[in-house]
């Protein structure tokens, strides 16, 4: 008796088998020359990377401008130009210049006169060293 399993169709083994990628031409790796061209084209499309030297120059430039503006601001504040223009930078009122005492004399005579002036202020005749005692000057029983 024949085996029923043996009745199945035989699978051909001598068929020339290839992979899917092998059968598809487009999925195959491009040749070396083409790959190089592609790489070059890609490089051209990318934005150029800034050079380190340029970056340093930019930072120095920014710092320079900042310092320049600071100095200018300082000069403007000092000269009062902003104040004249009506710009107020701070809530504090502008300093009031009051008439000050004349500068102290440097000469010996000037210092002597200043010393006498001080003594005159210190020795007010109306000042009493010790006030009279407040007593009852009429005691009786």
């Amino acid at each position: 008796m024949d085996n029923p399993l043996e009745d199945t169709k035989e699978i051909p083994t001598d068929v020339d088998q290839t992979t899917f990628s092998q059968s598809q031409e487009s999925f195959q790796a491009p040749p070396e020359e083409v790959a190089r061209k592609l790489q070059l084209e890609e490089d051209k499309n990318k934005p150029p990377e800034p050079k380190k030297k340029n970056l340093k120059l930019i930072i120095v430039g920014i710092l320079g401008v900042f310092v320049l503006f600071s100095v200018l601001l300082l000069v403007l504040l000092r000269s009062g130009m902003l104040g004249e223009a009506g710009t107020t930078l701070s809530p504090t009122p502008p300093p009031v210049t009051l008439p000050t005492n004349p500068p102290k004399s440097q000469t010996e005579m000037g210092q002597k006169l200043e010393s006498i002036q001080q003594q005159l202020e210190d020795n007010n005749p109306a000042e009493v060293d010790l006030d009279p005692p407040p007593l009852n000057y009429s005691i009786s029983l």
């Binding site: 004349p102 002597k112 002036q117 020795n123 005749p125 009279p132 005692p133 007593l135 000057y137 009786s140």
Partner: protein, 280 residues
């Protein structure tokens, strides 16, 4: 050259004399070993004791006035004695403090100073004598009589010494400043004004100096007048009459007011001289 030498000798002599007087005064205060602060502290302590005695006497007197009993009268006399003693003691310590200040003060005429210091001793003797009598004041009449005598004879002497000392201290303060200013003014004329080579500038400074001198002389004249008008001490005869009670306080206030005018004149003169000194 000779002018410089003479001015130097004058200044040196004045400075040496001043130093000697100052050293002598310091020596006298050091030898007694008492400071003004101690005397002031004693005075304030006695004033506090006086306040306590006053409170007690016022309470006992009010009780006696209300009850009119022998016991309340005895009690009132008992509290009157320490009250009288406390008042006299306060005056004594106050005068001691003033005496110390007068001793230390400069710019006061030495005869006025010594005469006032003598009066201080008289006043202290009077107070000590009065205090020694207080324990014997055992009844109301003797206590009232002693108090009345003290107020009529002792107080004029004490007030006179007190206000005369205060007046002298006030005069001394102004006189001392004036003396220093006078020296500085003379020095300016000798050492700064005279050597000016430019005739035009010298004439200008000279015109300014006339104003300086005018105010300085006004101060000097007024100061001398104040000293001249200083009232003489009361005599023992004055103490027996109505002359014993001039208004010492009013006289003192008037003198101080005049002294303030002197200070004003010195101030004006000094201001002009300072201005001239800056121009030289």
């Amino acid at each position: 050259m000779i002018r410089y030498l003479v001015s130097f000798i004058i200044i040196a002599t004045i400075a040496t004399t001043g130093l000697l007087i100052h050293a002598q005064e310091e020596l006298s205060s050091e030898s007694s070993g008492v400071t003004f602060e101690q005397l002031q502290s004693d005075y304030l302590f006695q004033l506090e004791q006086y306040r306590k005695a006053e409170t007690r006497f016022n309470l006992d007197k009010a009780e006696f006035t209300k009850l009119q009993t022998l016991a309340s009268r005895e009690k009132a006399v008992e509290s009157m004695r320490p009250y009288l003693d406390a008042r006299a003691h306060v005056l004594s310590t106050y005068l001691r403090a003033l005496q110390f200040l007068l001793n230390q003060a400069q710019g006061i005429d030495i005869s006025d100073k010594n005469a006032t210091l003598d009066k201080h001793e008289q006043a202290q003797s009077y107070i000590a004598n009065f205090r020694s009598q207080i324990p014997s004041l055992v009844d109301r009449d003797s206590a009232n009589k002693a108090s009345s005598t003290f107020e009529q004879q002792g107080l004029p002497l004490i007030f006179e010494v007190q206000y005369r000392t205060l007046t002298l201290l006030a005069i001394g303060r102004v006189q001392r400043v004036y003396d220093q200013y006078e020296l500085a003014l003379q020095e300016f004329k000798t050492d700064y004004f005279e050597p000016i080579p430019d005739e035009g500038k010298k004439a200008q400074i000279e015109r300014g100096l006339k104003d300086v001198d005018f105010h300085a002389q006004a101060a000097d004249v007024l100061l001398q007048q104040i000293v001249k008008d200083f009232p003489p001490f009361l005599t023992p005869e004055d103490l027996e009459t109505e002359k014993r009670n001039p208004n010492f306080q009013t006289n003192y206030t008037t003198t101080v007011s005049e002294l303030q005018k002197v200070s004003g004149s010195i101030r004006t003169s000094l201001r002009f001289l300072t201005e001239l000194e800056r121009q030289v």
